[in-house]
Amino acid sequence: MKPIKNPEEPLAIWSGQDYIAGEIHPSVTAIIRSGGCSWNRCKICQYRHERFSGIKGDELTRLMYAQIQRLKEQIEKINPHVVKVYTSGSFFDPLEVPKEIQDHLIELVKGKTLIVESRCEYIDAEQISRYVSHIKEGGEAGNIYVAIGLETTSDKIREKCIDKGLQYSDYLKTSEVIHKAGGKVKTYLLHKPPYLTEREAYDDMITSIQNIMPSTDLISMNPCTVQRNTHLETLWKRQAYRPPYLWSVASILAKSPAHVTCDPIGGGQARGPHNCGSCDGMILDAIKDYNLNADQELMLSVMEMDCTCKNEWEYVMSQERSWSMPLTR
């Protein structure tokens, strides 16, 4: 194990803008190193390498507290409406994020919109409603969004392709719990985990979006990226995986009955969602715009553009089979 550099700094922290409920708000995002996801089995996840390994209890609290201090400075400086704190795991898992840290963070975001992520099993009605009321103490505009990595509404795909240890029914229950507790739900979908054809992955997203619309307040779709030291990377190196085409990503966004935000990490690169290399930039730009303006016309117009690789994508969409895939790299 390499020693962690700067353990008292967040893994990343930045300010930007977020489109929530029809409006664009200034935001601060912090990726916080935590005790680590307890599940830690997803085939596509690299974050298990970005945890405090073997550090627990008071020392963990101290190091996370230090990171939160940096966030605090940013909040004070920028005064964002939205604060997003990601631990690459479950914010509500006390082994991962000690209770003191959870409480401390809530204090910092009173009156604001807080977004944290968590697996369903750590979400407790009572705790959520307590946090909601704490936040609302700073103003009625404040709230908490709990982001859940549902990834897909297909239990079959989630089990085989991601190994997430979650059932769709758990998600539905949890969503109800959060809403009843006054919180809001953000749902992550994963576009094209391994073992799916381009078409299967596409259809899975379309179906999943339709399914979850009644249960979620925000939808974020992550086109799958090949991260280092994951099982997915092994598959990718063995030619067994190809990230989704940006055509697929754009097409899903263009077709979606709800606004779906999307940040194609590694977009245009071999390990990330990509097309042929010549049209990638244009599509990535359009997606970035769409994230903020929710203008679906934009995505529709992207799909009307042409590129030499579009025929290839259409062919892959129609002809790639479970027993003959991936057809391209």
Partner: protein
């Protein structure tokens, strides 16, 4: 109705017939497999990469009981003769030649030979030959159609940009009508048709030697397969066509390795304590060439004549009819590369260590002379050189050769014993046999009884029933209680000597009859197959009163 019959083999490549319901298809070929096998359309969500861990495979592999049956190294399944199997997603293995070959060998070993192997999404004109060589039979148009969407113009020598379509590189229907998809499919069909023709002609390997040069991976696959036991099993003992050694890879062919191994391990040389090494001739068999007539005249049967040659290494005079000694042709430039030198030296060392001679005379020049000297040094014997001028056939050189042998006794020739030891691994100890006929067509008789004849077209000895009675063991095929009508079919074979390879002369033994003939399959294939001709029958003898 389903069925698979292998009609021809050339090494690990096969030509055959697939029956699926009303459709009859000769393979190797490409077709719309989803039409032939509708089950393929209902296999969404079934993806398993060829390299996955056993646990994942056992949890997620789905079997629908339909054809083609998916194979996976971690998912053993009982395959029947006549089944069509599919190796899902194996096109992704093509860039990993070692894995591709190793996994394929494993799968092939656990599957009956008379099955049809479908490799999806892989076939292109450029790789069809190596895929068929690997043992695949059935393909689809997925890869060619994909290439079409990528504006690639496919030919057996690789892919070109679509624009070349106007340059006359091809003039198929697709090219004439500007239909790239059609061209690419036709190009694949044509290539597969050529491969099928080559397999039936026994010249597929020579074809592959050229075709595989398109991509380094193809060469790697060929080299891996050359080293495999599977290729040794399937490689025929003889062909009636030339054996062209047109690349450095030829020396690693099973035929060459097998020749050297049999030379060292099986062959029994005549009783002689003097050997003369002479060079090969372009004309085959060597002894019909002008140069060899001169050498033989100078030697005057006073030594055992051993021909040094690439790629075979060493061919004793009495094995010169044996395949591929009488069938090979090789580019000659005067330069023997170091791989040739190494392999040939190795064969010489093994031979002379096994069969020491009192004197070894080398009537050789150039690199051949150096190789002989190397071998002598390594094997630890003295070697005498007799080339006096710069031409081995000059009178002075021949004179020197002749004089070197003065006083040596004549060697008793024994064509039959040498060839039989080489071909059957058996030491024939039958006295009073007479060799007759005009070389190379020879018959071996005792009195009026015919025992053996040479078969120069195949480079084999053909025994009669009387001949077989002298070869007491080996090369037997055992059949059930029936009198063969026509050829022996694989289902009729109960057991077979494991050394039998395609093309071997065999004796078929059953309760009701004995049969002489030539094996069409290896022993392994005869035993594991349920269809196809196992032995091409020459003569049947009913066994009375049994």
């Amino acid at each position: 109705m389903k069925g698979v019959e292998i009609l021809s083999r050339d090494g690990t490549a096969r030509y055959g017939r697939l029956t699926v319901d009303d459709t009859i298809l000769n393979f190797p070929s490409a077709t719309d497999t989803t039409r032939l096998f509708p089950a393929l359309n209902t296999r969404s969500g079934t993806n398993i990469p060829p390299i996955e861990d056993p646990d994942f495979v056992s949890r997620f592999l789905i079997r629908d009981g339909e054809q083609p049956i998916p194979l996976h190294i971690h998912a053993p399944v009982n395959i029947q003769s006549g089944d069509t199997v599919i190796t899902p997603n194996w096109h992704t293995l093509l860039s990993r030649p070692r894995d591709f070959c190793q996994l394929l060998d494993q799968l092939k070993a656990s599957t009956p030979p008379d099955t049809c192997w479908y490799l999806p999404g892989a076939a292109l004109p450029e790789n069809a030959a190596i895929l068929v060589h690997a043992g695949f039979d059935l393909f689809d148009y997925i890869a060619t159609d994909l290439a079409t969407t990528q504006e690639k113009f496919c030919l057996p020598d690789g892919q070109y940009p679509e624009k070349v379509m106007e340059e006359g590189l091809c003039s198929c229907q697709g090219c004439l009508s500007g239909d790239l998809l059609l061209h690419n499919r036709i190009a694949l069909d044509q290539e597969l048709a050529r491969i099928g023709r080559r397999i039936r002609d026994g010249t597929f390997r020579e074809f592959l030697e050229g075709r595989c040069r398109t991509k380094p991976e193809f060469v790697s696959i060929m080299r891996h397969i050359d080293k495999s036991d599977r290729m040794e099993q399937y490689c025929p003992v003889s062909r009636t066509v030339p054996f062209l050694a047109t690349s450095g890879d030829s020396i690693h062919r099973v035929e060459v390795r097998r020749f050297a191994d049999r030379l060292v391990e099986r062959y029994i040389p005549p009783v002689a304590d003097v050997a003369v090494l002479i060079p090969c001739s372009a004309k085959k068999p060597y002894s019909l060439s002008q140069s060899h007539r001169k050498f033989s005249q100078a030697i005057g049967r006073r030594a055992h004549e051993l021909i040094m040659t690439s790629p075979l290494g060493l061919v004793p005079r009495d094995l010169e009819l044996c395949y591929p000694a009488a069938a090979y042709d090789v580019p000659v430039t005067g330069y023997w590369d170091h791989e040739e030198r190494y392999q040939i030296t190795n064969t010489l060392v093994r031979y002379f260590t096994r069969h020491p001679y009192r004197r070894v005379i080398a009537h050789l020049d150039g690199d051949a002379r150096i190789i002989a000297q190397d071998a002598a040094d390594q094997a630890g014997f003295e070697i005498e050189f007799t080339c006096e001028t710069d031409r081995l056939t000059d009178p002075a050189s021949l004179q020197a050769l002749s004089e070197a042998l003065s006083g040596e006794r004549k060697v008793k020739s024994h064509l039959v014993r040498g060839m039989i030891s080489f071909q059957f691994g058996y030491d024939l100890k039958a006295p009073n046999l007479e060799v007759k006929g005009s070389y190379p067509e020879q018959v071996v008789k005792r009195g009026r009884n015919l025992y053996f004849s040479t078969d120069p077209a195949h480079g084999l000895i053909r025994p009669t029933f009387e001949g077989w009675s002298l070869i007491e063991t080996g090369y037997r095929v055992y059949i059930d209680e029936f009198v063969p009508q026509g050829d022996i079919l694989a289902p009729g074979v109960i057991d077979a000597d494991p050394v039998i390879r395609p093309g071997d002369e065999v004796l078929v033994i059953g309760d009701k009859a004995m049969t002489t003939g030539r094996a069409v399959m290896s022993a392994d294939e005869m035993i594991r197959s349920s269809r196809g001709v196992a032995v091409r029958v020459r003569k049947v003898k009913k066994l009375d009163g049994q």
